[in-house]
């Protein structure tokens, strides 16, 4: 690894209406290293990246590449400098094929006619390099599941032979297997002397792949050049949050076998997604679903919720059967779903934070259809604060929040609506360590108050740590069901991987 800085950013400032997202950030990246960027939600990581890729123009600060000053006044400029990125929010064109998305902007072509065959071949190569030769390069990206799309945007970043690749929380959508896969690719890159800027909220990943760490806080660099392996976790957390957080799961409450079964699912199936799923959730119990991406966990949740119509099987809440494929009847029965993809499934991007929080519980603030906005704001503000949504203030459009903070808003919506049953799909995706432990505590508290909770997470540790009972899915089949205490991470991973072809 050469010591010469490939990229140097100094005193970068970026302002948005009323928000100074970046307030003098310094960053230096060397060729062939994996440089990790840490920071709480809203610290400014993604914004910094967008400045680096020419998507945003900084209000102040200098950028040097190979020691020479550069103006990255458009994405093209950055691309020409050999900078590629995987953005936090998927940046794909749903209407185009996988191959076309990968080569968008630099399609192989002669006289403007695209050489589709060549594109397809090269796309397949890249995908195979990523360990996903099975993704059909001619299929429309819009019809791929989240994980598939994540792989495609990775492939796109690799398709340009870049010298510096930025990855903004690439692992958020991925399960352990996929993450391992990703790390293999990153190692390959760094060996070729490519520099990687890696953003993640999972410290264990930093430890495994990172070389050096830069920590952002409130839009400013608080530490840089830290050793990724040696620096103690508590130190990193303190730097990020300014306080020290016990990064442990809250203690479980004892569930009495006499506690009433609130949610009971029997023989639920959807051809091609999952089959014969049955489980009960008692009041105050947390049932966790572990499994690989594509194992059908989201589908199970969405089907229980009625967002998808079950082919067979039934769902009962407090003994009453829910009408299959009817979200309404689930909601009436007190079921809530925090869906997996916040942007497409949960958020009203242009609406104020508080409206997003109260949308599912409007009736509570309404008398004969008229809304009491003051009450709404109050309650929403309290929730936002308890989840530490930043920047504070519930009137800004959700679009302007950082990824993790958006996730918190989604969560807040369902915390507000006091449900009998809460279905959480990847509730901590993209949420920083600080907020994470708060969310864990909250989920526990809810359970303690008698809510039945179903939790889906790609982080086995999270499932085991939080859930009382664990269901392991593989290819839509429940391969294991039992108390969380009786099984450990490795066993789960074995169960999950078994027979999976990679």
């Amino acid at each position: 690894m050469s010591e010469a800085a490939l990229l140097t950013m100094t005193g970068i400032v970026k302002e948005f209406p009323g928000v100074r997202a970046l307030d003098g950030v310094d960053l230096d990246v060397r060729a062939g290293e994996v440089h990790c960027l840490l920071g709480q939600n809203g610290a400014g990581k993604s914004t910094l990246i967008r400045v680096l890729t020419g998507a945003h123009q900084p209000d102040a600060g200098a950028i040097q590449i190979d020691g020479e000053d550069v103006q990255l006044n458009s994405p093209t400029a950055a691309i020409d400098r050999g900078i590629a990125a995987i953005y936090q929010e998927l940046d794909l064109v749903p209407g185009l094929s996988v191959a076309e998305n990968i080569f968008l902007g630099h399609e192989p072509s002669t006289f403007g006619f695209s050489r589709r065959h060549e594109a397809a071949l090269r796309a397949r190569e890249i995908l195979e390099g990523l360990g996903h030769g099975e993704i059909p390069v001619r299929r429309e990206v819009g019809s791929l599941p989240a994980a598939g799309q994540q792989v495609v945007s990775m492939a796109r970043a690799l398709s340009r032979d870049a010298r510096l690749i930025v990855m903004d929380e690439p692992s958020a959508v991925l399960d352990p297997e996929e993450v391992a896969n990703l790390f293999r690719v990153i190692k390959g890159l760094t060996e070729r002397g490519v520099a990687v800027v890696y953003i993640s909220h999972r410290l264990e990943e930093i430890r495994e792949i990172g070389d050096r760490v830069t920590v952002l806080k409130d839009g400013a660099t608080v530490a840089t050049g830290l050793d990724a392996r040696e620096t103690p976790t508590q130190e990193l957390i303190r730097l990020m949050t300014g306080r020290s957080i016990e990064y442990v799961f809250p203690p479980r409450a004892e569930i009495l076998s006499t506690a009433p079964v609130v949610l009971s699912v029997e023989g639920l199936s959807r051809p091609g997604e999952f089959a014969e799923i049955s489980f009960d959730v008692r009041a105050g119990e947390i049932v966790g679903f572990a499994g690989l991406v594509g194992s059908g966990r989201s589908e199970v949740l969405e089907t229980v919720y009625g967002a998808r119509r079950a082919a067979t099987g039934s769902v009962h809440v407090d003994g009453k059967r829910l009408k299959p494929g009817r979200v309404q009847s689930a909601v009436k029965a007190g079921v809530g779903l925090a869906p997996e993809e916040r942007k497409s499934q949960a958020l009203l991007m242009d609406e104020a934070v508080f409206k997003n929080i109260t949308v599912s519980s409007m009736e509570r603030f309404a008398s004969v259809g008229f809304l009491n906005r003051t009450a709404e704001r109050q309650v929403a503000t309290q929730l936002a604060e308890s989840l530490d949504v930043r920047p504070p203030g519930v009137d800004r459009p959700v679009r302007n929040l950082s990824g993790g903070n958006q996730q918190k808003v989604v969560l807040a919506r369902w915390l507000l609506r006091d449900c009998r049953v809460l279905l959480l799909d990847e509730p901590t995706r993209g949420v920083d360590v600080g907020a994470r432990s708060e969310i864990y505590a909250l989920v526990r508290k809810l359970a303690a108050s008698g809510v039945a909770i179903v939790l889906v997470s790609s982080e086995v540790e999270e499932v085991l740590g939080l859930a009382d009972r664990v269901v392991v899915l593989r290819e839509g089949q429940a391969v294991h069901t039992g108390p969380a205490q009786d099984i450990d991470e490795h066993q789960v991973l074995d169960l999950v991987m078994e027979g999976s072809s990679v």
Binding site: R20, V327, Q345, A346, L347, E351, V359, F370, P397
Partner: protein
């Protein structure tokens, strides 16, 4: 693109959000930011009018003339605002208006009106309008037909039906009490204008202060999210078209009073005029963002424009050229000002 407004900003506060910023984004979301541009556009227009034809333009009667002209299309535009905010579009408003006016002025209806009073005609118009709206709503929400196509079909069908019923003859409103009531004035302001004001006010309250309005934004902004949040998206969508249809019914009553006729030729091009007013007002054609205030301004701008033209005796072809140019200028103006207000 969406950044243009953002990059023009210069604030000096640190990460903590200054209250002003909050108000700004609040402002923008309530559309006042955009409306400022509209106010200016309208004011400029009025100044032009006053300068070029001050003696007549600035007079009370002339203002009332402008308002009376605005009233009918205005009511239609309010309904259109709801549909568009909800992520749809309604090309059939003009046709529905025509059909309602014809149905409400058939011999049969008018005879009933003679015995039971004009309320019969009024309610007939409203009913027909709402019914057509319901058909639109069902086709779009449950038939899952693209709004553009569904309402285009309704446009053709409703006009055709209107022509068949009226046999393409203009139907005179015989019932005088009807004409007297709606044609009259209250405290110096024409009843038609009162109706417009009422509908606009009601529309504003519903859109901004009720759960129905809030859901409209949700449905238009992200239907899937709305569905998963437990909103009855389909039923709501249908309701929006019924609302639009109802507005057409009201507009039909107004036009019947103004022209003392029902005719299959009423309301030609109202779809374009209404959509134009709504969009100029700042409502997003893609849905999820809508402003009644903006729409009202949009309507006023267009009818003032017409009035100023007539007063200034422009050559007719010149008028349409001028119209095009003025629209562009107005929008540009409004955008610049909007982006100005969003930056503290």
């Amino acid at each position: 693109m969406s950044e243009a407004p953002l990059d023009t900003t210069t604030s000096t506060q640190a990460t903590v959000v200054p209250p002003t910023a909050q108000r700004n984004s609040g402002l923008l979301s309530t559309g006042v930011g955009r409306n400022l541009g509209l106010v200016v556009a309208l004011v400029v227009l009025c100044i032009v009018g006053a300068v070029t034809a001050g003696d007549t333009f600035a007079t009370g009667p002339n203002v009332l003339t402008i308002l009376r002209l605005a009233a009918t299309i205005g009511v239609v535009s309010i309904g259109m605002t709801f549909v568009i905010t909800g992520g749809g579009i309604d090309l059939s408003v003009g046709a529905i208006l025509a059909l309602s006016s014809v149905w409400a002025t058939t011999l049969a209806t008018q005879q009933m009106a003679d015995s039971y009073g004009w309320i019969v005609m009024a309610s007939t118009a409203l009913l027909v309008g709402a019914a057509c709206g319901l058909v639109n709503g069902i086709l779009v929400a449950y038939g899952k037909i693209v709004p553009f196509i569904a309402t285009l079909a309704m446009l053709a069908a409703a006009r055709g039906l209107a022509e068949t019923i009226s046999d393409r003859r203009t139907q005179i409103v015989a019932n005088n009490s009807f004409v007297d009531f709606f044609g009259g004035s209250l405290i110096g302001v024409p009843v038609l204008v009162w109706i417009f004001l009422l509908v606009a006010a009601a529309g504003w309250v519903v859109l901004n202060r009720t759960t129905f309005g809030r859901r409209t934004f949700a449905v238009g902004g992200n239907a899937e999210a709305a569905r998963l949040a437990g909103i009855k998206v389909q039923r709501h969508t249908a309701a929006l078209y019924v609302l639009a249809g109802l507005c057409c019914g009201i507009a039909a009553v107004m036009l019947m009073a103004r022209t003392t006729t029902g005719s299959s030729t009423h309301g030609q091009f109202y779809e374009l005029d209404a959509i134009a007013a709504v969009v100029i007002g700042g409502t997003l054609l893609s849905g999820g963002r809508g402003t009644i205030v903006g729409t009202v301004f949009g309507v006023l701008i267009f009818s003032t424009l017409n009035n100023v033209f007539t007063l200034n005796n422009l050559s007719i072809s010149a008028q349409s050229v001028a119209k095009g140019v003025i629209i562009v200028i107005a929008v540009l103006l409004q955008q610049r000002l909007a982006s100005r207000t969003t930056s503290s």
